[in-house]
């Protein structure tokens, strides 16, 4: 079945559910408010009627308990002394239920038989009282036996029709109904306003989510109040901010990556074009050009390799993990870098403690140490120093790489781990840097659940401190 979209959104809405729940509650309360007081007051009137009629019947019954035989005349004489004005009908019968006395104005039944159930029971010795409320009046009937020397000689029957008390109760009922009607209308209006206000905020959240999911990361929700919905709103805003940052990062990475790849490709194209187009190129120049092409190709290769390893780390799969002794890896790295250090006339030194084991991937650890040390060598001055320290600190393994180089300007420090970020653009390109080295280090450290921080050395230069959670090998624990 198809429904109008507006109708279906309303019937499925939280507001409707909210409204229906409250309506049911309000209706229940109203029914309670309307029925309970009426029932209670009605019962109270019943009780008071029964008592008063019983008292009057008792008086009549004992007044009629004379030793003489009950006749119309004797009863009339006795009843003449009593005040019967409040009663609608008084009937006195003999033991055969024949009416001896009747106060009815219309068709009094003297001489006839009163086969009322109340009188029948009274003649069997019981005291009977019935009370009925029909919404207009209380109708109470009471019957009591007349006894004489242990024998039931007759019965008294009283009937009272009381509209005044009933009117009182009806008035209360009417007032209550009016009050509940007004209260009901007010509460329904208020409920609609409140539920609208509440659901509007939920609708606003849903709308915001839709807008953001369509790609508008600028959208923010206005936060008001401090309840759960406000918390949800601010969490939503945080989430959107992070989405926006990530998206920005991704975009910049793609554009940077394409730019990085474009430059060497353009050089290669230019050089190869020159070779093709110049007819009389001497062999020396050509060799120089081809060497340049080779260098550019190598740079291209390095950049793509780094990008590959970065994206591999991003996905976080395909890394075998094992127990690694960092001292061993660091020594290997030092060995590899010592020719470069010698070339730049730098001192490369190390202080490596034993037993610094972690659980991780050897290639990545190697890359961390290599990139940090290589940076130290590249951005340094002749005669400078690069130092690698490795030690245990409680449950961590700490790797420190420091140099006496040119350092990093204050404003660049927050960005040093960003991809393609270069501190000194000109120099970095000369040194063959791609702006990816520290990004790779950062990602690799994160992949090992480690931490990395940068600080300035007191006498110039930089210091990188990397911390890994230590791997407690069983033989080591034995020695400890």
């Amino acid at each position: 079945m198809k429904r109008l979209p507006g109708v279906s959104t309303f019937t499925n809405s939280v507001q409707l559910k909210f409204a229906v729940t409250f309506l049911v509650l309000i209706a229940g309360l109203m029914v309670m408010l309307n029925s309970y007081p009426t029932i209670v007051s009605r019962d109270l009137v019943f009780a008071s009627k029964q008592t008063s009629l019983q008292n009057q019947a008792g008086v009549m019954s004992s007044a009629l308990s004379t030793p003489d035989e009950l006749t119309s005349d004797t009863v009339l004489e006795v009843m003449g002394l009593l005040d019967l004005r409040s009663l609608t009908r008084v009937v006195v019968t003999d033991e055969n239920a024949r009416i001896l006395y009747d106060t009815a104005q219309l068709d009094p039944g003297v001489g006839r038989y009163a086969l009322f159930s109340e009188i029948s029971r009274a003649l069997k010795g019981k005291i009977v009282c019935y009370s009925v409320y029909d919404g207009k009046a209380f109708m109470t009937s009471e019957a009591m036996p007349i006894r004489n020397g242990g024998l039931t000689v007759g019965a008294v029957y009283l009937y009272e029709y009381d509209a005044a008390q009933a009117e009182l109760i009806t008035n209360i009922q009417t007032n209550l109904r009016n009050i509940t009607l007004i209260l009901g209308i007010i509460s329904i209006i208020l409920m609609f306003i409140f539920s609208r206000a509440l659901t509007l905020r939920i609708t606003e959240l849903a709308r915001a989510t839709k807008i953001v999911s369509e790609g508008n990361y600028e959208y923010r929700i206005k936060i008001s109040g401090s309840d759960e919905l406000s918390d949800l709103g601010s969490e939503f805003n945080n989430l959107t901010q992070r989405l926006k940052d990530t998206e920005e990062l991704r975009r910049r990475f793609v554009s940077d990556a394409s730019h990085e790849l474009k430059t060497p490709l353009a050089s290669i194209r230019l050089l190869s074009d020159s070779i093709v187009n110049s007819e009389n190129m001497d062999i020396v120049t050509m060799r120089e050009f081809v060497t340049d092409i080779g260098n550019e190709a190598e740079r291209l290769q390095r950049t793509t390799e780094k990008l590959l390893s970065l994206s591999k780390m991003d996905s976080g799969i395909g890394f075998m993990r094992e127990k690694i002794d960092l001292k061993h890896v660091a020594e290997k790295t030092l060995h590899l870098l010592s020719p470069l250090a010698k070339e730049n006339r730098l001192t490369l030194s190390a202080e490596l403690q034993r037993g610094c084991c972690i659980y991780g991937n050897e290639d990545l650890i190697y890359r961390i140490i290599f990139n940090l040390a290589e940076n130290g060598i590249k951005y340094n001055m002749p005669g400078g120093q690069v130092k690698i320290l490795l030690f245990r600190e409680e449950k961590s393994v700490v790797l420190v790489v420091e140099d006496t180089g040119i350092g990093i300007p204050e404003e660049d420090v927050p960005h040093i781990f960003s991809r393609f970020y270069r501190v000194d653009k000109a120099r970095s390109s000369d040194a063959g840097g791609s702006g990816l080295g520290l990004s790779i280090v950062y990602d690799a450290v994160m992949l090992h659940n480690g931490s990395i921080c940068f600080e300035k050395r007191e006498n110039g230069g930089s210091r990188f401190i990397v911390k890994f959670p230590a791997y407690l090998c069983s033989d080591e624990e034995k020695t400890v």
Binding site: T88, R89, E95, N96, A97, R98, I99, A104, Q105, L106, D107, P108, G109, G111, R112, Y113, A114, L115, F116, S117, E118, I119, S120, R121, L123, K124, Y130, V132, D134, A137, M139, S141, T152, Y157, Y159, Y161, A163
Partner: protein
Amino acid sequence: MKRHIFIILIVLCVLLSACGEKAVSDPLESSITVYRLLRSEYQTNGELLLPEKIALDGADPVSQAVSALAETPVSDKLQSPIPKGVEILDAERNDDSVTVYMNSAYLDAEGIDKTILDSCITLTMCSIKGIDYVTICVGSEIVSNKLTPDDILLFNTITSPKKAQMRLYFPKTSGSALGAEYHTISFDEDNSAERCILDILLKGPTSADLKNAFPEGVIVLSVYTQDGVCSVSLSGLPAEDSVPTKKDAELAVYSIVNSLTSLANVKSVQILIDGEQVQSLWGFDISRPLIKNESIIGSAAVK
């Protein structure tokens, strides 16, 4: 509750007749109404006896009424009104009455139980068409003579100080006597009980056994009660020679007199024609105030 429904039904009947619709004759004409005793746990609304219509199967209605009274009722709510040991030996119909013969145990029954038994027999027998009263005998001795349904009040007829059910009298269709019918009378300062009774009398009865006392066109000019004498001034009566018999006139007059004297404050009724005191109505003497005539009720044989 049942009593309320009964009252409502009566009010409805009155309203229907007010619309000019004559009550249609009872479709269950060949049925009788058996009165039995309600068990005490069901006597919740002032009722003691419960009427129940049963269809007649063609045999003698009197003997069917006897066997219906004697049998144990099917319903749990009811019990037979006949006390243990008492038996209805025979019942015989004479014209408009039934004589019921009981065994000697009946003489031991007393008080309310005897009244209930007599009432149930009387009400049941008188529901047979044409039966007006019941006599109960043990052997050849008459114990209870000429019991009529009129002697029995089944419930409190007074509902409120301004509203009650009372018996109003109409001529029987046979034209021999007056029959009673319960009507709801409600009155106030503007509309006296006497006026209300006369309105109903002129409108006519609901029962098919009864007929209108006066022809259409008769109206009440005034009605007032002073010193126990109720003066009723009628108008629009047809001329004397066009009219019915003297018996019809007697029934018409006593339908007014007997109905009005059912009021506690009315002892006698003076009928006036167009505000004037007259010698006779259709040959029936109305020159003096008339008092209630019990003998004309039920059966013409009872004089």
